[in-house]
Amino acid sequence: MKILVCISNVPDTTTKVRFTNDNTQLDTNGIQWVINPWDELALTRALQLKEDKNNSVESVTVIHVGGKESEPTIRKALAIGADDAIRVNAEPTDAYFVASQLAEVIQQHDFDIIFAGIESSDYNGAAVGGMLSEMLGMPSISAVSSFELENDQVRIIREIDGGKETMTSQLPLVVVAQKGIAIEPRIANMRGIMMARKKPLNVVEPAEKDSMVDFVDFELPQAKPPCKMVDPENVQELVDLLQNEAKVI
């Protein structure tokens, strides 16, 4: 069984975002780039499955659509334990473009399980995994919070609004992962970092594909007015404010 994990390269979650060029571009100055948090959890789970000898997971590959500058993030995925990596050498312009590039490469391989994160913490599209599965004509299960393999059969829990469903599926399958699939992301150790340097990182050139969405411009949220402080000895005042000023209760 072969597992593929789709990886997005995103600003560290503590980044203060700023824009340049008339607010049309992210200012990348000083940004630390990391593996998208959900992708990192999916990768962690894939590696756990590979290590569990009751399964027959042969390999865990990661794939990313992005320029050369994203290679440190890909190397990080290799350092955490992925066996090999593929980088599609193109600027990721929108979710549709990214999914098209991924589909193009995946069609030339035979992965049984393809993980994608439920969203990318930069443009919050919640789109690539679903689009990819449609392009590949594969089933998909979304909002997956638990993933088990038993005799190469999948047992999945997905979150629905107001509950959970336990599921099985035919393979190959696209699994769109959310929190819960793993709790703590795995961190690379020194040995992993050394080994990652020698692992294959294959660069493929992009196919001719269009995007469907343009990012026109960005804006920052309006500054909040300062917080009104209420004396802890007088919580009645807070009730008044909520009733008469905010009018939310």
């Binding site: 689009m131 979304s142 026109v216 404010l241 939310v248 209760i249």
Partner: protein, 322 residues
């Protein structure tokens, strides 16, 4: 031309979020001089279906087929596409919830329709079609242009509002072409959180962080939530520690919510936590550290010990209401 809105139901019942979605679709239809067509899959009785017309649905299409009992992303996408084709729909609208997130991208790829995901308002005009959405987990907003003729939108919950606009609806049944072999995923077990106010639906939310010290102290939050009729939430470490179930975790990696009121007790206000709650209309912070970052995001704040403040607040509310 038509705007197609996929209306999810829960055991035959719609929710306020469904009505918000129909309201949005019908305002869009007004702009486009189009019909609002609502699609409902599964068993819903006629009285409930008619509710969709109270918010602007001109036509309601129902699909009832045994093999559609559970959400199979491929099958549902196919059904929505078949209905969209029959109705000549150019814009498909879904909720930005777990179901919408599962279906909208598939539909987008299938119909070559640009996806505007988690949009929070109407476009200013239809051509060019530019919509606003949150990016960087709420740290910014983007205007995105959807470049294709057909479009798929998912609407951020609690971002638009509910508008009555009563129509006399046509109700029709639709028989999709869908064989059992096309369904490749199976649901073997369902666990529902019954009688529990769903966090993403709640208008009022009471939330606790690591500053609550231990799970035993949650009865103080629970009492306040009960008094308010609020749902409970928590920060990530609280659910990671197992003090509270995962479905209560809000933030970047948890639930993204937009209630009218969010009360945060013993939560420092880390940027990843705020990512999940920044769309709340009002935030109240209770924290014993006056420098906690949560106060930068809050509308009202109390510097104090949550163990003391919470019961007093519950009591003050009870008095104010009696």
């Amino acid at each position: 031309m038509a705007i197609l809105v996929y209306t999810e139901h829960w055991d035959g019942q719609f929710k306020k979020s469904t009505f918000e979605l129909v309201s949005y679709a019908s305002k869009l239809a007004e702009m486009a001089d189009a019909q609002t067509v609502a699609l409902s899959i599964g068993q819903v009785d006629e009285d409930n279906l008619r509710q969709l017309a109270d918010y602007g649905a001109d036509k309601i299409i129902t699909v009832n087929q045994a093999n559609l009992k559970y959400l199979d992303n491929q099958a549902y996408t196919s059904v929505i596409q078949q209905v969209a084709d029959q109705e000549g729909a150019d814009i498909m609208v879904l909720a930005h919830n777990n179901t919408g997130k599962a279906l909208a991208p598939r539909l987008s790829a299938r119909m070559q329709a640009a996806l505007g995901s988690e949009v929070n308002q109407l476009p200013a005009e239809l051509d060019p079609f530019v919509v606003n959405k949150k990016v960087f987990s709420g740290k910014a907003f983007a205007n995105v242009k959807l470049k294709t003729d057909k479009k798929v939108l998912t609407l951020a919950q609690n971002s638009f509002g509910i508008y009555e606009n009563t129509q006399e609806p046509i109700i029709e049944n639709f028989e999709p072409t869908l064989s059992d072999e096309q369904i490749k995923t199976q649901v073997t077990d369902v666990e529902k959180h019954r009688d529990k106010l769903l966090l993403t639906d709640a208008e009022l939310v009471v939330s606790g962080g690591r500053g609550m010290k231990s799970p035993e102290n949650w009865d103080k939050l629970n009492d306040l939530a009960n008094e308010l009729g609020a749902a409970l939430a928590c920060s990530r470490p609280v659910s990671d520690e197992g003090w509270r179930p995962h479905e209560e975790h809000t933030g970047q990696t948890g639930k993204i919510i937009a209630p009218d009121l969010y009360i945060a007790a013993g939560i420092s206000g880390a940027i990843q936590h705020i990512a999940g709650v920044s769309a709340a209309k009002y935030i109240v912070a209770i924290n014993n550290d006056p420098d906690a970052p949560i106060f930068e995001m809050a509308d009202y704040g109390i510097v104090g010990d949550a163990m003391q403040v919470l019961p007093e607040l519950t009591e003050a509310l009870r008095k104010a209401r009696s």
